[in-house]
């Protein structure tokens, strides 16, 4: 994996602000982004990425290529939580195993966004329909996770209800904003896209820097908690992304994606959710411990993907595709 890639990833302002946030926390600075500003940034990012994706999709249309990509994305979104659940079950109780499985089956929008800006820096193109892929991958893992927990989890008071299940999966605020903005982008097309471009495109990277500054603080705060997790969760949080990435790369190559789209699909599968899924799990599986699944995705998998994952996956793809 060549150093140039790592460097050009690290010299990306958003990533550097992530480090600044971590540094602030580690040297005991009083720097913090008070509630609800981070919510504002994430809302902005989800709305913008969704809307831009919708506009792109409106341009490209539903080509076979696009359909194949979405199918692959859906497949991974269902397969990952299933296989990881049974791995996790060996060490964790049903609820925690289900929550972690859902976390890793779903996606991290910000990792995806970092990947797109990484591609932008490399001058590698990617399709707007990948955002649709991301949107599609948000919810299935939530459904699988909750369903599995309900079916295998004996005697935990709450009865199973499809309506609750679907609401937890799709009425989740972040999912709704992402999908809603995507649909709005689709409906309004290029005219809408042009009208909002200064907001959704031009200032986007700046807002991303602010959000990652907060992410740096927030993940560093949890570094201390990692030790208490024990070895299994730590190993899981670093190895499973690699496995999922490998499968995703194979899949991407099989359905003949371009290098850009391939990286994005890979990142989607390798990333773990820390916005939509934790919110949903908190409602649906209160017995599961957020200290476990949030720490794993936020303090280990997210930094791992942002710092090492991106250049690593890219270099592998470069090798294979050429």
């Amino acid at each position: 994996m060549d150093a140039a890639l790592i460097l050009s990833n690290l010299l990306n302002p958003p990533v550097l602000f992530f480090f600044l946030g971590m540094l602030a926390c580690l040297i005991g600075s009083d720097l913090e982004i008070p509630h609800p500003l981070p919510k504002f940034f994430s809302l902005y990012l989800l709305l913008s990425i969704g809307f831009k994706g919708g506009v792109e999709l409106h341009k490209s249309g539903l080509t076979p290529q696009v359909s194949w990509t979405l199918a692959a994305a859906m497949f991974m979104a269902v397969a990952v939580p299933l296989w990881t659940f049974f791995v996790l079950r060996r060490k964790l109780d049903v609820n925690n195993a289900a929550a972690v499985a859902a976390t890793y089956g779903s996606v991290s929008a910000v990792t995806f966004i970092a990947a797109t800006s990484f591609l932008g820096q490399l001058g590698v193109t990617s399709g707007g329909h990948m955002v649709a892929a991301m949107a599609l991958m948000e919810s299935p893992a939530i459904i699988v996770g909750i369903a599995v927990a309900r079916w295998l989890g004996k005697g935990n008071g709450t009865a199973f209800s499809w309506s609750h299940l679907l609401r937890d999966a799709f009425a989740n605020g972040s999912v709704l904003v992402l999908i809603g903005a995507l649909v709005i982008g689709l409906l309004t097309g290029e005219s809408g896209g042009k009208a909002l471009a200064p907001f959704t495109n031009d200032i986007f990277r700046g807002m991303l820097c602010l959000f990652l500054l907060d992410m740096g603080i927030v993940s560093a705060r949890r570094l201390g908690g990692i030790r208490q997790l024990g070895i299994f969760p730590i190993a899981f949080a670093t190895l499973v992304p690699l496995v999922n990435a490998a499968v995703a790369i194979a899949l991407a190559h099989f359905i003949g994606l371009g290098r850009g789209d391939a990286l994005l699909l890979t990142v989607l599968c390798a990333s773990a959710s820390y916005i939509a899924v934790p919110a949903a799990m908190r409602l649906a599986l209160p017995e599961a411990n957020p200290g476990l699944y949030v720490t794993m995705s936020l303090a280990i998998t997210f930094p791992f993907n942002i710092i090492l994952g991106l250049p690593l996956y890219m270099s592998v793809i470069n090798r294979i595709w050429t």
């Binding site: 981070p38 919510k39 908190r282 409602l283 209160p286 200290g291 949030v294």
Partner: protein, 97 residues
């Protein structure tokens, strides 16, 4: 001034609607909500700093008649059992318009 029980209920923020519905069901129409609040308890530390969400608690303050108190408390017990949280009860006097 009227002798009342001052109930202070701290629960997981997403449970708030459920709790308020329970209170209203018991005929409690007066309450004050402070949300989000953070805290620590049996289920660990809730930093409420998760990006775009957070693990905040809500604090519900309600003054109920001494007669109501018992019944209200019993009605919220299951919520505390299922989702954690506490309820603090103090004797107080209510001054109202």
């Amino acid at each position: 001034m009227k002798h009342v029980k001052r109930l202070e209920i701290i629960i997981d923020a997403p449970e708030l609607p459920t709790l308020l519905a329970l209170l209203r069901a018991k005929g409690v129409s007066g309450y004050t909500v402070i949300s989000p609040v953070t805290g620590s308890g049996g289920r660990g530390y809730r930093r409420n700093d998760e990006p775009g969400g957070g693990s905040g608690n809500a604090c519900v303050l309600t003054a109920v008649s001494n007669e109501q108190a018992e019944e209200v408390i019993e009605s919220i017990r299951p919520v505390l059992k299922r989702r954690g949280g506490i309820c603090l009860v103090t004797d107080a006097q209510l001054v109202i318009h």
